[in-house]
């Protein structure tokens, strides 16, 4: 395992020159492994927006992800000693995030099956404070995503919404690159199929088309 010297707050005065907050991922990984007290804070600042974004995009707009973001970091701090290549810290964080998201997708699916969904379809009373069109389109989009298996769905999210390369998707899903390709291609076809049959999405998208064709500069 690589070892790097970093500026450990009070624990190791004067050992190194680079503040941990500015150190590279490999250095941060080593600091986490060595239980540097400052390392969790730096890891949180550096990776929590990425983790939160992947979780939101994986789980959809109706899911509260804050507690799941914390689950990811607790897992990271517990498992970071298993990281073989410290340079791959970011990929490691993404892999934990994806695994956690997949677990949550399966859990949400079971909850829906047994009728324990946290997001009731027809609440008696709701207060809405903002424009809802885009939000509802998103909800319908994620309904379409709910209808495909969670591996394909995650591959779709990582490839198309997160914009990852096929190799990165494969690494995050722990599958081969051709398998990852098959997953996100199949998911695209299925999502398109379902979206074209959702009246709200058809209406929403047709309005987008009209607007853009009328107002194309």
């Amino acid at each position: 395992m690589a070892t790097r010297q970093v500026s450990h707050d009070a624990a190791a005065p004067g050992v190194a020159s680079v503040p941990l907050s500015e150190a590279d991922d490999a250095t941060l990984a080593c600091a986490l492994i060595e239980k540097n007290k400052a390392a969790p804070r730096v890891a949180w600042t550096r990776f929590s927006p990425l983790v939160r974004r992947i979780l939101r995009r994986s789980l959809g707009p109706q899911h509260d992800v804050e507690d799941i973001v914390q689950d990811v970091f607790l897992c990271l701090f517990e498992r970071v000693h298993t990281l073989r290549d410290p340079v791959a810290l970011k990929a490691f964080v993404i892999a934990i995030t994806v695994r956690t998201a997949r677990y949550e997708i399966r859990r949400a699916r079971v909850r829906r099956w047994v009728g324990l969904s946290r997001t009731a379809e027809l609440p008696d009373l709701r207060v809405v404070n903002a424009d809802t069109n885009s939000q509802h389109a998103l909800i319908h989009f994620y309904r379409a995503l709910n209808r495909i298996n969670e591996r394909d769905r995650t591959a779709f999210i990582l490839r198309f919404i997160e914009g990852m390369e096929a190799a990165e998707v494969a690494a995050a899903l722990d599958v081969s690159v051709p398998t990852a390709r098959r997953c996100f291609t199949r998911a695209w076809e299925r999502v398109t199929f379902f979206a074209q049959r959702d009246p709200f999405l058809v209406d929403y998208l047709s309005k987008l088309e009209v607007t853009s064709s009328e107002e194309d500069p």
């Binding site: 995009r57 509260d64 507690d67 008696d124 207060v127 809405v128 424009d131 607007t211 107002e215």
Partner: protein
């Protein structure tokens, strides 16, 4: 494989873009607060924080933070909120009328849906909202507030509202539109309505594309014993508002009350030429210098709807000169911009003036969008870019948002 290879499936691309835009890594929690919560969990013995406990604490914490955030957000920019009583708001934002279904807005406005009617609430701002009536009948009472801005969309018809009460219905099957005024005034736009029909208390507008005409029934006074009936019809010899079809002869109500009211009524009934003829008989200069604000507003509407741009321009300028602080005078800046767009130039300046005078006016988003498009056409993306950014900041879901995003991108890519 990349997104471009899937362009044939554009709808999915649009949804992907929507998710990219809406679902990001920001949070209402500060970085410190988020990490403080994480530290609390890290310090607990592992056995303690089972998933259930964690979820409970986290949800409670999130709810508190969210409530606080909403409190502060609402304090800074108090958008209206609404509640659905006696019915349900489904996850797609639809409210389907049941027995006594009411949508109550925080400003005191209220919509009552008849059984089976279907409506959606969109574009909620601090001054109003858009109520989209998909089908069925709805009664709407809009609280009268300064600068209230509401829109009701029923099929292809838009009803612009400030403070009023009316019944509106739309049938998808028969393509029939029906609006019965109770109090206040509204402007209806849509097929056969040309540049808009002004409706006032007691009037009833009905018809539609299938019927081939729109009919205005009744005069302003609800107590009128024998309501007159008039069909909205085009001016015969002059350019007409779009789609107005010749209507069968209908009795014109005898003028009563002041001339200003008569002109407003004539405009509402589509008799634009009658107003123009009377103004010319009286003398246009005399009317412009001595007419009341209501007369000038009606004359300006009549001239615009009849396509008499030169007269409309003179009347609108007179409105602005003689009644500079009035609402119609402020709106006149927007209409002068529209006229200037048709010929003569100066539209951008008029739109800027309208926005500076009425930043929250009913036409503000249109004025902004039109100014942006004109700048783009006349001076290119470099000039229009800042306006596009400003537009998106104010109206992220506005009618020109898609164009603004493209101009913004083009403007950014053209920078060295």
């Amino acid at each position: 494989m990349n997104l471009a290879e899937h362009e044939v499936e554009k709808p999915t691309s649009e949804l992907v873009k929507l998710a990219q835009r809406e679902l990001h890594g920001d949070t209402v929690l500060s970085d410190d607060a988020g990490f403080a919560r994480l530290q609390i969990r890290m310090s607990r013995p592992k056995g303690f924080w089972t998933r259930g406990w964690v979820a409970g604490v986290a949800v409670a914490g999130s709810a508190t933070v969210l409530a606080a955030a909403l409190f502060f957000v609402q304090g800074a920019d108090p958008k209206l909120s609404f509640q659905v009583a006696g019915g349900a708001l489904d996850s797609s934002g639809r409210v389907v009328g049941q027995e006594h279904t009411k949508i109550r807005f925080s400003d005191g406005s209220e919509a009552t849906l008849e059984r089976g009617a279907e409506a959606r609430i969109t574009n909620v701002t601090e001054r109003g909202a858009e109520v989209v009536l998909s089908h069925g009948r709805m009664n709407l009472h809009i609280a009268k507030k300064p600068e209230a801005s509401w829109k009701v969309a029923a099929g292809p018809y838009d009803v612009r509202v400030t403070g009023t009460a009316f019944d509106v219905s739309w049938s998808n099957q028969s393509q029939a539109f029906d609006l019965r005024m109770q109090t206040g005034a509204v402007i209806v736009t849509g097929p056969l309505a040309g540049s808009g029909i002004v409706l006032r208390a007691g009037q009833h507008l009905f018809g539609g594309v299938a019927e081939g005409r729109l009919t205005v029934e009744g005069t302003e006074a609800t107590a009128s014993p024998a309501p007159a009936v008039a069909a909205v019809e085009p001016a015969q010899a002059r350019p007409t508002p779009q789609g107005l079809s010749p209507a069968p002869a209908a009795p014109t109500p005898a003028p009563h009350g002041s001339e200003a009211h008569a002109w407003t009524r004539h405009v509402a009934q589509g008799h634009f030429n009658t107003v123009l003829d009377e103004a010319e008989q009286r003398g246009l200069d005399r009317t412009l210098s001595g007419g009341s604000l209501e007369e000038l507003a009606a004359l300006a509407d009549a001239a615009r709807y009849a396509g008499r741009s030169a007269i409309a321009k003179r009347v609108l300028l007179a409105e602005r000169q003689r009644f500079p602080s009035s609402g119609p005078a402020r709106d006149a800046a927007f209409f002068l911009g529209r006229i200037a767009e048709e010929g003569g130039g100066g539209a951008i300046e008029w739109y800027e003036r309208y926005v500076s005078e009425s930043p929250r006016g009913a036409y503000a988003s249109q004025a902004f969008g039109r100014k942006m498009m004109l700048l783009y056409k006349q001076r290119g993306a470099g000039s229009a870019g800042p306006v596009a950014v400003d537009y998106l900041g104010r109206y992220p879901n506005g009618p020109y948002a898609a164009a603004a995003r493209k101009i913004q991108l083009e403007s950014q890519s053209s920078k060295p």
